[in-house]
């Protein structure tokens, strides 16, 4: 999940057309709204069970059918946006923050701090990110917050590496040297030139990375490590429907489609912004 960030961003040259970017931005907005105010989209209760209405096919009453406990699938998909986004956004925020601190430290601090930090990042990079997340889960246990933390631990080293490389690149850039020659104080150079030029492209990369964390979060939830059962969440909803594949495909299909739509939209938006920033250079 980590090395993907830079790689997907590298595809920025294939920028989306303007209408595609707009459509993607709209989808992201809708999903964010669903997470914040699900009542806008459905009045059905995602937790209300109804044994009499179990495993109904999609109809006018239940747009996407019902699951094995008679819960409305559409309502569960809408309400599931919150947990899925919480995991994705939370993990990305933690990973980016940790990555910036680690990366800046490894690039700018004195040798006694920078070298151990750099070694730590190298060692963490030796674990495939998703496995590092699994390890953390096995230690801290299940839950929304735990998953977000686990994914953040897996993703942070990748961000740290990017931040360090960018910091070193910007530090040797002509305009930083010009500021030194001009006589600008080092604190001002770091605050006004270095940080903005490192962090701004990183924020765009993090948008693309958000798609990957949402994917990873849904995978861990699918494996049963997510929020406790009645809470609606896309990954665990797919797991719920696994046993009914032959008879009621919609139970698994709908939340899966929601994940795909979210990740595609987030990635298109991230790439679009990346292209607008001039490929991050």
């Amino acid at each position: 999940m980590r090395s993907g960030v830079g790689l997907v961003a590298a595809q920025g040259r294939r920028r989306a057309s303007r209408p595609a970017l707009l459509a993607a931005e709209l989808v992201v907005l809708l999903i964010a709204l669903a997470a914040l105010a699900p009542g806008l989209f459905t009045s059905a209760d995602p937790l209300a069970t109804d044994p009499a209405a179990a495993v109904l096919a999609p109809s006018a009453d239940h747009w996407l059918g019902t699951d094995q406990q008679g819960r409305d699938v559409f309502a569960r998909v809408v309400h599931g946006a919150r947990a899925s986004l919480e995991i994705g956004v939370g993990a990305t925020l933690v990973a980016v923050t940790a990555g910036v601190l680690l990366g800046l430290g490894a690039a700018l601090a004195g040798r006694w701090i920078a070298t151990p930090l750099l070694r730590l990042v190298e060692v963490l990079l030796a674990f495939p990110g998703i496995l590092l997340a699994l390890l953390v889960i096995s230690i801290v246990g299940n839950g929304t917050r735990e998953i977000a933390l686990a994914i953040a631990v897996g993703a942070a080293p990748g961000y740290a590496r990017i931040v360090r490389a960018e910091t070193l690149r910007v530090r040797s850039a002509g305009f930083v040297e010009s500021s030194i020659a001009l006589g600008v104080a080092p604190g001002r150079i770091v605050g006004r030139h270095l940080l903005p030029n490192v962090v701004r492209p990183l924020l765009v990369l993090a948008t693309i990375g958000l798609g990957e964390t949402i994917l990873a979060g849904s995978a861990l939830s699918f494996l049963g490590m997510g929020p406790k059962p009645p809470t609606p969440e896309w990954g665990s909803a797919i797991a719920d429907g696994r046993d009914y594949l032959a008879t009621a495909w919609w139970i698994s299909f709908a939340p899966g489609a929601a994940i795909v739509a979210t990740v595609v939209a987030v990635t298109v938006v991230g790439r679009g912004w990346h292209a607008r920033l001039g490929g991050g250079r």
């Binding site: 090395s3 997907v8 030796a126 495939p128 496995l131 994917l215 849904s218 995978a219 494996l223 990635t267």
Partner: protein
């Protein structure tokens, strides 16, 4: 590389230390926790020694292939993992070959060609990369096993090769998509370089330009993907083996996590990171062969 492995083992060791109290309880289970029994178990698990001592034992043990003992099964982790290695390697290798072939063909067919074909291929790749592999597996199962009945529903055992198809395709799809993207970008960048103009001005064919010049440059971009591919195969194995009910170390890891069997999870993770580091080291050795400019710089 050795230093990185020792570092990885140390991270694993510290993680184990964090949960040091739990294993005692796991081992004791429902027996009454008398002080004697507690002391006995602690000594069995080596918890009565000093921290640096335990670290030395742990790292030394790993060097000899001792990854500790599963709390759950009370058997050496290496044994458990060893038994389950083959089906995972089979799955990962098949998926990699499928993905590499698919991605390369897609890239060669669409690089620098008609805009519409490129756009369609690009959209398909984005979709493939945005699809959770476990869900893709479920969709494939629904369509090809439940509806069409072409492939067996439950994994290995009955008819090895046929049971391998769907899981391998599931794992291969994102790899093919990522490879196609990176390779096509690499090809298009190479074809826009001055040396491509020079080569065209010699009167060589467009095909020769691609195979003899551009492909090698694009290969450099693809090699940076190796880490991503290994991670994607190993991480994907965890969910794909669960979805398809296959044997394998991914399944072992998933089961061990749900029962908080940290040494087993650790064993799988350490083994994967070892594999990851080895592949990355091999790729580092390959770089100067593909790009002679890197020679003599090392």
């Amino acid at each position: 590389m050795v230093a990185v492995m020792v570092g990885a083992a140390t991270v694993a060791f510290l993680a184990l230390e964090l949960v040091a109290d739990d294993p005692v309880r796991t081992v004791i289970g429902l027996r009454p926790a008398t002080p004697e029994l507690l002391a006995q178990v602690r000594s069995d698990l080596g918890l009565d020694r000093s921290l640096p001592e335990r670290w030395l034992l742990w790292v030394g043990g790993i060097a000899h292939g001792d990854l500790g003992t599963s709390y759950q099964l009370q058997r050496p982790v290496l044994e458990i993992v060893g038994e389950q290695l083959l089906p995972t390697v089979e799955l990962a290798l098949t998926a990699f070959l499928l993905g590499a072939a698919g991605g390369t063909l897609l890239a060669l067919a669409t690089a620098g060609r008609r805009p519409r074909a490129r756009a369609a291929s690009g959209a398909a790749e984005l979709l493939a990369l945005s699809t959770p592999p476990f869900w893709l597996g479920i969709v494939l199962l629904t369509v090809f096993s439940f509806q069409l009945g072409w492939f067996p529903v439950i994994g290995a055992g009955e008819s090895g090769l046929r049971a391998l198809v769907l899981p391998a395709v599931t794992l291969a799809v994102p790899i093919a998509a990522m490879l196609a993207q990176v390779l096509r970008d690499g090809l298009e960048q190479a074809l826009a370089q001055p040396f491509a103009t020079t080569a065209r001005a010699r009167g060589i064919s467009e095909l020769r330009l691609r195979t003899h010049h551009a492909l090698r440059h694009a290969l450099l971009a693809v090699m940076t993907l190796s880490g991503w591919i290994v991670g994607s195969l190993l991480g994907g194995a965890v969910v794909v083996e669960t979805v398809f009910g296959r044997q394998g170390i991914g399944r072992v890891a998933a089961t061990a996590i749900s029962s908080a069997d940290v040494p087993t999870v650790m064993g799988v993770v350490l083994l994967s990171s070892f594999f990851f580091v080895v592949v990355n080291a091999l790729v580092d050795l390959l770089y100067p062969l593909v790009d002679p400019r890197l020679r003599g710089r090392a």
